[in-house]
């Protein structure tokens, strides 16, 4: 996982609440067995005027001029500013992979849905929660200023706008550490392998019916 420390980048405003992961990356792209290549299909149904599938040449598909992220000013955006309950619905991590693949490093919203939020943290995409009214004010500022950027400092837990306003945000300390250092949390869990084995042995005594049930190798 790529560490996240500080980031300054163009911010794109997508003013909508309850954006679900089906909208972020439609189902037909979930057939891929890879982790990359989803960038062109971020918000696919909204982004293009013609339907697409994994075989399409996306560069030839007509873009929807009414979709905000298609505006020229947002082409190099790396931060998304958006509405509450972002990423609700399906658990597909492809939604996070699509953002990373499209060059995004952070998403700012009033709230996130649980699974999306967890997936983002595991992949190095920073999710920043700021109060409703702050997000709303930022939306207005960003929409009014072409090329608006945000400065995000994870160590300091701050977001600074071009107008110089600084907002602090909360983040789980464990998540912060993993993001800052780009840690592989599987390796962290495996440091406790002995403890896991002990727990497992006890569990086997308490609930033997949960062991040796499936599979051909153990």
């Amino acid at each position: 996982m790529k560490p996240f420390t500080q980031h300054r980048g163009i911010v794109a405003a997508l003013d909508r609440a309850n954006i679900d992961t089906d909208s972020i990356i439609p189902k037909q792209y979930l057939k891929s067995v890879a982790r990359t290549g989803f960038g062109p299909n971020l918000f696919d149904d909204w982004r293009y005027l013609s339907p697409g599938d994994p075989q399409s040449d996306h560069s030839k598909r007509p873009l929807n001029p009414d979709f905000v992220l298609n505006q020229a000013r947002y082409q190099n955006a790396s931060v998304l500013l958006t509405g509450a309950n972002f990423g609700c619905g399906s658990s597909r991590e492809h939604a996070v992979w699509a953002f990373l693949d499209a060059g995004f490093r952070a998403i700012v919203a009033p709230t996130f849905a649980d699974i999306f939020d967890t997936n983002a943290a595991k992949c190095g995409l920073l999710t920043v929660c700021l109060p409703d009214e702050v997000v709303r004010a930022m939306m207005d500022e960003v929409s009014a200023t072409e090329g608006a950027q945000l400065d995000i400092d994870l160590q300091e837990q701050t977001v600074r706008t071009d107008s110089g306003e600084t907002h602090t945000f909360d983040i789980d300390p464990q998540r912060k550490r993993c993001l800052l250092e780009g840690l592989d949390d599987i390796a962290l869990s495996l440091q406790h392998a002995e403890l896991i084995r002990q727990f497992e042995a006890e569990r086997r005594t308490r609930a033997p019916w949960l062991f040796d049930r499936f599979g051909t190798r153990s």
């Binding site: 067995v33 619905g89 658990s91 300390p173 599987i186």
Partner: protein
């Protein structure tokens, strides 16, 4: 300290808690399907790891499988490749898999409980948000992303922070024609799709006690649509009767030991919850969603809301998007909405009781002419066999419905079953998101009986008038 069911299940699986309060939670069983697992297996291989406990994993292909009878080979090469990848990963790591064509194949959340893979007291995860379904059997079950799938494969554990306890009490006896689906939709209409965010929901109350396990599964299935990662119901006699004699359930003395432990899987009477909501099930009417989020829902006798009736500007903006997408102006009577398709299926509502309820309505009626397609997709091979033994398939076929092979089908349209742009569909699934059932398709969520009645009428009708 009095404990909730969730507290008990949680405490029972904590390996350690770190200084930040994050628990390493032991996972008893991981369910795997073809869409969210390939990258996890690949990650495992890249690190030179193998599954920690192959005997705790069950795999099944469900999302991509074709449901038209007689298809052995998937036409879409990417779908086929994904399923072949699952087969190959299961073979490589020695995992139990129910592949396409196996009589036990079906939607992952239908086959788990049905086979006795899901047992009370377990922790269960799956790379699928509707894993909450398994909570109906007093398990702690939740959906995870692919990185976490890999984590559990490699370590049998997940680092997680405990959620808040939320109680949903469903009280009263629901009138005839009101199902678990209506209760779930009415609840989400009230608390919203973020209403349970950060919470583990326990469903209790007299209406839940009266529900079958299948009905409880429908409720827990929809917990994720209320924003909660898990939903659960305490163990009672109904639970034990359901579990007993399932293929992977314990037997003999082991059953007796298990039963003794399971009886304790209920909240203490003085347990405290961070949040609580009471819904009076006896006051409910059949529910129909009108928009593109499950919280956009009204009763069958109501109308689609008008924008002018929504005071909150943010909500009005969402409603405007939704009305536009759904091809509605606002103010239409729900019973005036005409349908092009009907889908009876999914992990929410494709178990045998769902098919019986739908067949009861269809018996002696026929599909309305304007309905292009009415699909009945059983949740599993076992459900299909049972329905055929009861002659339900014939009732559907005689009425002009299509009787299909098990799979996720038009719940998310990853296979060939999908809506055409602008087609309006009554669906028994769980998500009415834009494009969910096919790009541009318009989904209205309802119960199986409501979907069946709508297929016969050609528009939504109050199923209470259809019951004999």
């Amino acid at each position: 300290m009095p404990q909730t069911l969730y507290d008990k299940l949680w405490d029972d699986h904590v390996v350690r808690v770190d200084e930040d309060g994050i628990a390493l939670l032991y996972i008893d069983c991981q369910l795997v399907h073809e869409v969210t697992s390939p990258q996890a297996f690949e990650g495992l291989r890249l690190e030179g790891r193998t599954p920690w406990r192959a005997d705790s994993i069950v795999a099944v292909a469900d999302h991509n499988v074709p449901t038209e009878p007689g298809i052995e080979e998937i036409a879409d090469p990417t779908s086929r490749h994904q399923i072949e990848t699952l087969d190959a990963n299961c073979a490589e790591f020695g995992l139990l898999e129910f592949p396409m064509g196996n009589p036990r194949q079906g939607i992952v959340h239908v086959i788990g409980p049905e086979l006795g893979v899901t047992l009370p007291g377990m922790t269960i995860v799956c790379g699928d948000s509707h894993t909450s379904t398994h909570g109906a059997l007093a398990t702690l079950a939740f959906g995870i992303g692919t990185s976490q799938v890999e984590h559990v494969l490699a370590t049998q554990c997940l680092p997680v922070r405990k959620s808040e306890n939320m109680l949903i009490r469903l009280e009263g006896t629901p009138p005839a024609g009101i199902t678990a689906k209506d209760m779930a939709l009415a609840l989400i209409g009230r608390i919203g799709t973020a209403g349970g965010t950060g919470c583990a929901i326990e469903f209790s109350g007299s209406a839940v006690e009266q529900l079958s396990i299948e009905g409880r599964m429908t409720l827990c299935n929809m917990a994720i649509e209320a924003g909660a990662r898990s939903g659960m119901v305490a163990v009672d006699d109904t639970t034990l009767a359901y579990v007993q004699d399932r293929p992977y359930a314990p037997t003999g003395n082991t059953w007796k030991d298990a039963e003794k432990q399971w009886r304790d899987l209920r909240s203490d009477s003085d347990a405290v919850y961070a949040r609580a909501v009471v819904v009076h099930a006896n006051e409910l009417a059949p529910q129909v969603t009108w928009g593109t989020s499950p919280e956009m829902v009204v009763s069958i006798d109501a109308s689609v809301p008008k924008l002018s009736d929504i005071p909150d500007p943010a909500q009005a903006r969402d409603a405007e998007n939704a009305l536009d997408y759904m091809g509605l102006h606002g103010g239409e009577a729900i019973t005036d909405l005409e349908l092009d398709c009907v889908f009876i299926g999914s992990c929410t509502n494709a178990r045998i009781e769902d098919l019986r309820a739908a067949a009861d309505v269809v018996r002696g009626r026929t599909r309305a002419k304007r309905v292009r397609q009415a699909l009945v997709v059983p949740g599993s091979g076992q459900v299909k066999a049972q329905a055929e033994a009861e002659g339900l398939d014939q009732i559907f076929v005689d009425a002009g419905f299509e009787w299909r092979e098990p799979g996720c089908s038009m719940c998310l349209a990853m296979n060939a079953d999908r809506l055409e742009p602008r087609e309006r569909c009554a669906a028994t699934s769980n998500r009415n998101f834009e494009g969910r059932q096919g790009q541009g398709g318009r989904t209205h969520l309802v119960s199986p009986a409501m979907a069946a009645a709508a297929a016969c009428a050609g528009h939504f009708v109050d199923v209470r008038n259809y019951l004999s």
